[in-house]
Symmetry: C2
Subunit: 212 residues, 2 copies
DNA sequence: GAGCATACCTACTCGTGCGTAAGGTTACGC
DNA sequence: GCGTAACCTTACGCACGAGTAGGTATGCTC
């Protein structure tokens, strides 16, 4: 009396992914504290003890979400920005990959950016990831600077990278709240600000993505 | 048997400020959910029912914190960036005022930026304030653009403003985590990124604050 | 088709923390 | 010097949600 045999008794790996999907959704909506394990279990279509059996406590579950989404994002970016390209080309590809990821994983982004920040236990986890991102950007700038023969202190570089990462995160947030917005266009806008600066923009100078 | 008659029975207005101070500290440390009313009362040197009598429920208390800190910040910025100045001068003064505020009110900043973002009930409150900030920046850019005879769409403008605000917030966060850092220097660095862009910086061009 | 492991459930315990009821104490008006 | 109102307390009720105990069903192996 049914085509689909009422989804039951799935293998562990599958259920774990379903749980993580559910957890990311619920955490992104209510935040870590306000989210309840009961709701996560319900959204996953499973009962609570299963969640504990597979993914452990609430904190461990959240860290698992953080890791999955974070890894996905870092891979998306790293895969796009090859080290042998010029600085502007690398920045552009990195930005495009980043905004593409956020556009496709809005819930994951919300967990990473809006939730992990506040609660103490995970601030470290997130800060580490963010640091890697900042270091990549700083390294990129440093590389380009050396090629240009310009000398800048290390903190100086780090701060600039921080600002760029922050601006990108902010725009990513804007993107997450505007489902109709185009990730590619958002990346272009970010590139304009980052590469040219407000001063150039005010003179009517704009940057355009290269034809492929 | 004492110079100070063991602080008791203070007028309402004073106690309310003490409570708000305590609440901002506790909220900034633990976040909204993890913070307990008992601890806030203890830090304020008062018992819990007093907090309820004066400032209402936990949510109302948090909103009160949000309002006080937010208003303080907006006033600091608005007071510094007079509309009759040139765009770069306005931006510079605004940035300096902003980073000055964060440097002096790190706890308040943590509440505004790190805590209010996640929990649903206050996302709106904060977003409204942030919107006003973005509008101010966008208006500034628009003004300068018209003077220059350049035409840009409204969303374009909003997005650029968003990126600038985001970059500033990110650096403010960095500042909050580096107590030894100088707010003025941080503002200068932000100005370099915002006004010149990475492209100019790579060519060795830098911006310096005007002598006063 | 007996046995065993794995998937899965219902129904509970227990701590924590919000919000309050009811009562004590100090200052101030008259 | 006495009422009264504002300030302040201790001690509790109550709900919600994390984590668990113990039991049931299903597929897989021989």
């Amino acid at each position: 009396m049914s085509g689909t045999p009422t989804f039951k008794r799935l293998p562990r790996a599958v259920r774990e992914q379903q749980m993580l999907d559910a957890a990311v959704r619920v955490f992104s909506r209510h935040g870590f504290h306000a989210a309840s394990m009961d709701e996560i279990a319900e959204v996953a279509g499973i009962s609570k003890p299963m969640v504990y059996a597979y993914l452990g406590t609430k904190e461990e579950l959240f860290v698992a979400c953080l890791h999955r989404e974070g890894t996905r994002m870092m891979e998306a970016i790293a895969g796009a920005a090859a080290p042998e390209l010029d600085a502007d080309e690398r920045l552009w590809r990195g930005l495009r990959a980043f905004f593409g990821f956020v556009g496709a994983h809005r819930d994951g982004w919300a967990v990473l950016y809006r939730q992990a920040r506040g609660s103490q236990p995970f601030a470290g986890e997130l800060a580490a990831m963010r640091s890697r991102l900042v270091e990549v950007v700083a390294g990129m700038l440093d590389h380009a600077l050396r090629a240009e023969g310009v000398e800048v202190s290390e903190t100086e570089l780090e701060v600039v990278a921080y600002a760029l990462v922050g601006a990108s995160e902010s725009l990513a947030d804007w993107l997450a709240d505007h489902p109709e917005a185009d990730p590619g266009k958002t990346a272009t806008r970010m590139m304009n600000v980052a590469w040219l600066g407000a001063g150039q923009l005010l003179r009517g100078v704009t940057w355009h993505p290269p034809q492929e």
